[in-house]
C-alpha cells in the first residue's frame, strides 16, 4: 500500500510536469493518439471503398454504435471507480422488454404515444437504476473492489436475465404499431444526440464535481480515499447506479430503433462496452481515464467494424479483428504510459 500511495504522489508530480510541456506535438500524440488511428482507418477505408465517407454511412455508424456507446459511458464510470459492471447486458435486455410491453400496452389502451414514450424512458431509467442499486448496494456493503465487482455483477447478470425471461416468458416482442412518437427516439440522429448529451453531462460530472473527483480517488487507491475522508461506499454505490441507468436508457433506444425486443437484446453489451472503454485508454485498474476518451473508443470501434463490413470481411473474421484490436489497444496504451513515465523521470 505504501508503494501505491507513493505512486499516486509520483503521478501527481508527473502530471504537473507534463502540463509544462503541454503544447509539444509528442504529448498531444501521446494523449490523443486514438484520433490519428481513427483518421487512418477512415482514410484507408475511403480509398478502398469511397462509399465509406458518404453522409449516410457515417450517420449509420454513429447511430448503430450510440447505444453501445451509452452503455460504455456508464461502464467507464464503474471502471474509473475501480469496479466493473457485467450486469449491463441483462439490464439492457430487461429494460428493452419492459419498454416494449409498456409501449404496446399503452397503445392498446389508447393513451397518447407521447406519454407512452415518456413512460418507457422512465421505465428504462428506473429499471437501470434499480439494477444499479442492487449491484452498487452489495458492492458498498462488502466494500468490494474489482475482483468482487466482477463476480457479484456476474451473478446479478444471471438473475436479471432470468427476470427478463420471466417477464415475457421467453417470447420475442414485436411492436404493435409502427411509427408514432416513441419511434422517434431511435430515428435519424436522435440516438446520437442523446449519446452526446449524456456524454457531455457525465464528463462535466466527472471533471467538475466533488463526486467525480472522489470517484477518481476511489479508483486509484481505495484505502487512501477512505483515510482522506471520502465516503467510499456511497461513491461506489452511485458509480454503479449511473452505470445501470445508462444501460437502461440504452435498452429503450435499442427498442425504439429496431422496433422489437427480445431477451437476448443486450447480448455481449458488457463485453463491447468494456472494449470501448479499454480502447479509449481508460486504465482498467481504475483511477484514470475519461468520458471523452471513451467516446473516442466507441467511434474507433464503430468505424473499424463498419470499415471491415464495407471491405467484405465476414462476421467470424471480424470477431478475431475485434479481439485483436482490444488487446493491441490496451498494450499500446500501457507502453505509451510507460514511455511517458520514463520521459518524465529523466
Amino acid at each position: 500500500m505504501q508503494l501505491k500511495i507513493s505512486g499516486v504522489v509520483f503521478l501527481e508530480k508527473i502530471s504537473k510536469k507534463v502540463k509544462v510541456s503541454e503544447f509539444s506535438v509528442k504529448s498531444i500524440f501521446r494523449e490523443w493518439g486514438l484520433i490519428f488511428v481513427i483518421l487512418l482507418i477512415v482514410v484507408v477505408a475511403t480509398f478502398q471503398r469511397p462509399a465509406f465517407l458518404s453522409g449516410g454511412n457515417l450517420v449509420n455508424i454513429l447511430r448503430s454504435y450510440s447505444t453501445i456507446g451509452i452503455a460504455a459511458l456508464g461502464m467507464a464510470y464503474a471502471i474509473i471507480g475501480g469496479g466493473m459492471d457485467l450486469s449491463i447486458s441483462s439490464t439492457v435486455s430487461l429494460s428493452a422488454v419492459v419498454t416494449m410491453l409498456i409501449v404496446n400496452g399503452t397503445v392498446i389502451d389508447g393513451i397518447s404515444p407521447v406519454y407512452a414514450t415518456f413512460l418507457a424512458l422512465l421505465a428504462g431509467i428506473v429499471i437501470g437504476g434499480l439494477v444499479g442499486c442492487l449491484g452498487g448496494g452489495i458492492m458498498a456493503a462488502v466494500n468490494g473492489r474489482m475482483g468482487e465487482s466482477f463476480i457479484i455483477t456476474y451473478a446479478i447478470q444471471i438473475i436479471i436475465a432470468a427476470v427478463a425471461n420471466g417477464v415475457v416468458a421467453g417470447k420475442f416482442q414485436a411492436a404493435e404499431y409502427k411509427g408514432g412518437f416513441f419511434k422517434q427516439i431511435g430515428m435519424g440522429l436522435n440516438p446520437v444526440l442523446i449519446f452526446l448529451f449524456l456524454a457531455i453531462c457525465l464528463e462535466i460530472v466527472l471533471k467538475k464535481t466533488i463526486f467525480g473527483r472522489n470517484l477518481y480517488f476511489l479508483g486509484a487507491n481505495m484505502q487512501a480515499a477512505k483515510m482522506a475522508g471520502i465516503r467510499t461506499r456511497r461513491t461506489r454505490f452511485f458509480s454503479h447506479v449511473i452505470c445501470g441507468i445508462c444501460a437502461g436508457i440504452a435498452g429503450v433506444i435499442v427498442v425504439s430503433r429496431v422496433n422489437s425486443a427480445s431477451i437476448s437484446q443486450g447480448l455481449n453489451y458488457e463485453m463491447d462496452a468494456m472494449a470501448c472503454v479499454a480502447i479509449g485508454g481508460t486504465s482498467l485498474d481504475g483511477g484514470s481515464g475519461s468520458i471523452a476518451k471513451t467516446v473516442l473508443g466507441v467511434i474507433m470501434l464503430g468505424v473499424l467494424l463498419n470499415a471491415l463490413n464495407l471491405l467484405g470481411i465476414r462476421a467470424n473474421e471480424q470477431l478475431i479483428v475485434r479481439g485483436a484490436v482490444v488487446v493491441i489497444a490496451v498494450v499500446l496504451d500501457t507502453l505509451n504510459k510507460k514511455a511517458k513515465l520514463k520521459e518524465v523521470a529523466k
Partner: protein, 320 residues
C-alpha cells in the same frame, strides 16, 4: 463452543454442501441414486478440471476469461483430429496430445501478452476470447463438428466402481494439483507471487515466469476439459460451455479462495464445484424449470459470494 463456531466458519462450504445434499435427498430420494450421482459427477468433473486451473491462476493473482473459447477450441480441434486419425489407438493418443498442445499454445499467448505488457489479465484474456472464438468459427465455418469415433464413445460411457472414467480424470488432476500447490517449491512460489508480487520478486522469485506458467496450465486444463467433453457429447462447437470461465471463477470463490490472490487452495475448489453442481442439478430435480432455475442459481451465487466478501472484509478489520 468457540471451537464449533470456528469449525463452522472455516468449513462453512462443506456444511452447506452436506445440507444441500440432505435437503435434496429428503425432498427427492432419487437424487441419491447411483445413476444420478454418476451424472452429476461427470458434469462437475468436466468443469472441475478447468476450475482447478482457474484456482491456480487466481491464487497467483490473475484470471482468464478466454478459458471458455479455449475450451471450445479444444473440443473442435479434438473432434477434427479424431475424424482425421481416430482409426488407431496411436492416432487417438496423438489427437489428444496435439489438442492439449494447441490449447497450451493459446494459453501461452495469453501469458506472454499479460506478463510482457503488465496489463490486467482479464482485459487481455477478454480480447483473446474474441480472437479464439472467431478463429473457432472460421475453422469450422460457423458449424458444429461431430465425431463418430468408437474409442472415444466407449471411454465416455465407461465406468469403474460405479463412477465414470471422466470423474477419475478429475480426481487425478485434483490430487496432482493439490500436491503441487501444497508440497512443492513451485506451488509455494505461486502463493508468494499472488500474495505480494513485489515482495516475491525481491526475494528472488521469477514472478514473470510463474505467472506465465499459470496461463499455460489454464490452456492445458481447457484442452483436457475439451477432450473430456468430446468423450461425453461426441461433438464440438463454440456454443458449448460458454459459461465455463465465469463458472470456474464462481466455483473458486464459492470454495473459499479469495480473488485477491495468495490464499486458498485447490481442495477448496473441488468442494466449490461440487456445491455448484449439486445446486444446479438439484434445482432441476426439484422441478424448477428454465429461467427460475437460472434465477435461483444467480441468487445463490450472489449470496454466497457477497457473504464471503463480507466476512473477509470484517476479518481484515479485526486484524487491524
Amino acid at each position: 463452543m468457540d471451537k464449533v463456531s470456528r469449525f463452522l466458519k472455516n468449513q462453512a462450504i462443506i456444511c452447506m454442501l452436506v445440507i444441500f445434499i440432505f435437503v435434496l435427498a429428503v425432498a427427492r430420494p432419487s437424487f441419491l441414486s447411483a445413476a444420478n450421482i454418476k451424472n452429476v459427477l461427470i458434469d462437475a468433473s468436466i468443469y472441475g478440471v478447468a476450475a482447478i486451473a482457474m484456482t491456480i491462476a487466481i491464487v497467483t493473482g490473475a484470471f482468464d476469461l478466454s478459458l471458455a473459447s479455449n475450451f471450445a477450441w479444444g473440443q473442435i480441434f479434438f473432434c477434427f483430429l479424431l475424424n482425421l486419425w481416430g482409426d488407431t489407438a496411436g492416432g487417438v493418443f496423438l489427437a489428444v496430445v496435439c489438442t492439449l498442445l494447441s490449447c497450451m499454445l493459446i494459453g501461452a499467448m495469453n501469458g506472454i501478452i499479460v506478463v510482457k505488457s503488465g496489463i490486467a489479465a482479464w482485459i487481455v484474456t477478454m480480447g483473446m476470447s474474441y480472437v479464439v472464438k472467431g478463429w473457432c468459427l472460421v475453422f469450422t465455418g460457423s458449424d458444429m463438428v461431430s465425431t463418430g469415433n468408437e474409442a472415444v464413445a466407449k471411454f465416455g460411457k465407461g465406468t469403474f466402481l460405479g463412477l465414470s472414467y471422466l470423474t477419475y480424470i478429475f480426481i487425478l488432476v485434483a490430487i496432482i494439483a493439490f500436491i503441487v500447490m501444497r508440497y512443492t517449491q513451485y506451488g509455494r512460489n505461486l502463493y508468494a507471487t499472488g500474495g505480494n508480487r513485489v515482495t516475491a520478486e525481491l526475494s528472488g522469485i521469477k514472478t514473470g515466469w510463474y505467472r506465465f506458467s499459470t496461463f499455460v496450465i489454464l490452456g492445458l486444463s481447457a484442452g483436457i476439459a475439451g477432450c473430456m467433453y468430446v468423450c461425453q457429447i461426441r461433438a464440438g462447437s463454440v456454443l458449448y460451455g460458454t459459461d465455463l470461465a465465469l463458472t470456474c471463477v464462481a466455483a473458486t470463490v464459492v470454495g473459499g479462495t479469495p480473488l485477491s490472490g495468495g490464499k486458498g487452495g485447490v481442495h477448496r475448489t473441488v468442494v466449490g464445484i461440487l456445491l455448484l453442481y449439486v445446486l444446479y442439478k438439484g434445482l432441476g430435480f426439484l422441478g424448477f424449470a428454465g429461467y427460475v432455475n437460472n434465477m435461483v442459481k444467480g441468487i445463490v451465487l450472489l449470496v454466497v459470494v457477497s457473504f464471503d466478501a463480507f466476512m473477509t472484509q470484517s476479518g481484515t478489520k479485526k486484524v487491524r
